[in-house]
């Protein structure tokens, strides 16, 4: 066969964790998590980045020592001078690969090997081929991509010898804005936010007026309330040609999450056992996988039922 079972990867922390907790999280991931690659860097808010920068080097070195490939992810929305400076300095890194999350990073990274992050709109073969020609080696697809399109993109990727990565766990990034909704909820604006997003390590829950949980606010980002869970779809994704499976970090035990996905990918546990173990985590929200099936994103379909 010669076919690899696939890699579990860890996406960048999307939330504003306490810097020391952030560092300790990565130290533990470095030492214990069965993941192949770890994405570091602030992708949501340039104001937050300064909080974590002092720990980047220690985290990256510890992860490398733990046998993990480190990739730095760039900011997803680039408007202000501070945003642009951060993208420029991240892209100037030569010690690590960089994952681009907006057009300004594409300008900086073209001509050398890089990754494409989920905030770049790669929906079709032609875009994939164009970016591969610019030096892109790995594509983490937008989370709203249905299985039919993932399958077609995998075929194109195989012919170009580039890899496809798909988020398989965690709240789904749904929208970006210039306005900070965390600051707005607290009656503030982005410039005077006082980092109120630090109160919500998994995002600030929004409920509809009749009380049903709906979305999660994370600064300028709006996310799903529910947690994407494609553990049941791993065999199908693998068969399509997806080779990298991204876990998006949350405050729950991510070592356990990684272990469950690794075991499921290696077929050491069944889908139903994997789902049951994930459901035992204290997430406080249901699972979803609707986008994959071309249904409303919040919905949940069990692979067996499909």
């Amino acid at each position: 066969m010669g076919e690899q079972p696939g890699d579990i990867t860890l996406g960048p922390v999307l939330f504003n964790w306490k810097p020391e907790s952030w560092r300790d999280f990565y130290f533990r991931i470095a030492d214990e998590a069965p993941v192949t690659a770890v994405y570091l860097g602030e992708t949501v808010c340039s104001k937050r980045a300064v909080l974590f920068e002092p720990y980047y080097q220690a985290a990256a070195e510890r992860l490398a020592a733990g046998g993990k490939t480190v990739i730095f992810s760039t900011l997803s929305e680039v408007v202000l001078k501070l945003d642009r400076k951060q993208v420029e300095s991240t892209c100037a890194t030569t010690d690590y690969l960089v994952e681009a999350n907006d057009g300004s990073a594409l300008l900086a990274l073209r001509g050398r090997p890089h990754h494409i992050g989920p905030f770049i709109n790669v929906y079709n073969e032609r875009t994939l081929g164009f970016l591969a020609g610019q030096g892109a080696r790995n594509f983490c697809l937008p989370p709203e991509m249905p299985a039919t399109a993932i399958r077609a993109l995998c075929a194109a990727a195989a012919s170009l010898d580039v890899s496809i990565e798909v988020q398989v766990f965690g709240r789904v990034p749904l929208a970006l804005s210039a306005r900070c909704y965390h600051a707005r909820a607290h009656g503030r604006i982005k410039d005077s936010c006082q980092f109120v997003c630090e109160n919500d390590p998994d995002g600030l829950q929004l409920r509809v007026l009749d009380g049903r949980p709906f979305l999660a606010v994370n600064g300028i980002q709006t996310m799903s309330h529910d947690y994407l869970n494609l553990v049941g779809e791993l065999p199908e994704l693998r068969a399509m040609g997806v080779s990298r499976f991204r876990l998006s970090p949350h405050s729950c035990d991510m070592i356990e999450v990684a272990a469950i996905f690794r075991a499921a990918l290696d077929a050491r546990i069944s889908s139903s056992e994997a789902i049951a173990r994930l459901a035992a985590l204290p997430l406080g929200a249901p699972f979803s996988n609707g986008f994959y099936y071309g249904k409303p994103g919040f919905s949940w379909t069990t692979a067996a039922a499909h």
């Binding site: 057009g103 079709n124 210039a178 306005r179 982005k190 049903r212």
Partner: protein, 338 residues
């Protein structure tokens, strides 16, 4: 040209949802109209809107006979396996001789640039290019001649971008204001299963439900989610997720978590925008009525002409046309909006 004022005569770019709407906009003084084909290749893929290729051909003849340009929006993102529909749209645009095609997807732009090098490309707001570097990337790779800026920038930021890019700037001045960065919002798909990026729909009418209780209070739902509630007599705009009211732990009651139901109105900022380097002023609203288009286009035609003649734009009457009769300058007015 009036160089002494620091700006040149801007192009007034107006919405055309139908052939009749196109004629209305042209007759009301549009310098250019923008429109889409009757499918998911454009971001206003609404029932009853848009053009067949034959209608587009006739409409181009109508506009060109009156010195107006026609811009075709092919500005959604083709999902893998379905690129053919977008390829046909690009070929149609080139064959019929549109004055420019508005693109969002890199694959579509790449196809157009390689196969129809004579076809002028404008970068859609859907591409979300919000920095000089991102815009330069599209200019250099695909020969983009104009960028439609996201509605998230202040006037000084637009001026700053203008000095660092090799292409023209088009900016929205009036109409619906989306709160999320364009081309980067999956909220509609999350709730309805139809994608803004791939299907060209936002808050599709078929998924909107209005439920009235005994006191005639109105509950508005998109799919299974309540987006807002209005007391009897309160005015309700068209429901979108980003203009709904929600609950959260740090607010005492339902609040507009993203934005209130307001419309963008930059009429007071027109000279500032023109001085910042905006050379095309865009009016949103391909889904709006011909009466609306006639009123708004005529008003802005008079305003631009008045500004160029050194006079007052005189746009006070536009407030009556804004959504829920409430308006905002959005990000354009300054950083406190963020």
């Amino acid at each position: 040209m009036t160089e002494d004022r620091g700006y040149r005569r801007p192009e007034l770019v107006c919405p055309a949802g139908t052939p009749a709407g196109l004629r209305t906009a042209v007759d009301a003084g549009a310098d250019a109209v923008y429109c889409g084909l009757q499918n998911e290749t454009n971001a206003r893929n609404f029932p009853g809107l848009n053009f067949t290729p034959a209608e587009l051909e006739q409409s181009i003849a109508y506009a060109h006979a009156r010195q107006a340009k026609v811009l075709l929006a092919v500005n959604t993102f083709p999902p893998a396996g379905r690129f053919e529909l977008w390829r046909e749209a690009v070929d149609t645009a080139a064959r019929l001789g549109v004055d420019a095609m508005i693109v969002g997807d890199m694959g579509v732009a790449d196809y157009a640039a390689r196969n129809h090098p004579q076809l002028r490309l404008h970068l859609s707001v859907q591409a979300g290019a919000s920095s000089p570097e991102a815009i330069r990337f599209y200019c250099q790779e695909f020969g983009v001649k104009r960028v439609v800026l996201p509605r998230i920038l202040t006037v000084p930021e637009i001026a700053d971008i203008h000095s660092q890019i090799p292409c023209e700037i088009e900016a929205f001045i009036f109409g619906n204001i989306g709160m999320m960065a364009e081309g980067r919002c999956s909220l509609t798909n999350y709730v309805t299963g139809l994608s803004t990026n791939m299907d060209g729909v936002c808050s599709p009418a078929a998924d909107v439900r209005y439920e009235e209780d005994a006191e005639r209070n109105l509950t508005i739902k998109l799919g299974p989610f309540t987006i807002d509630r209005f007391a009897c007599g309160e005015s309700a705009g068209y429901p979108t997720i980003c203009k709904g009211r929600y609950l959260c732990g740090v607010q005492p009651a339902g609040y507009y978590a993203f934005e209130e139901p307001v419309s963008l109105n930059l009429s007071a900022l027109l000279p500032d925008l023109m001085r910042a380097g905006v050379t095309a002023l865009k009016i949103e609203g391909r889904q709006r009525s011909r009466a609306y288009v006639r009123a708004v286009v005529s008003a802005f035609r008079r305003a631009v002409d008045a500004i160029m003649a050194g006079g007052d734009p005189g746009l006070a009457g536009l407030l009556a046309l804004t959504e829920g009769h409430r308006e905002t300058e959005g990000a354009f007015g300054g950083k406190t909006w963020r």
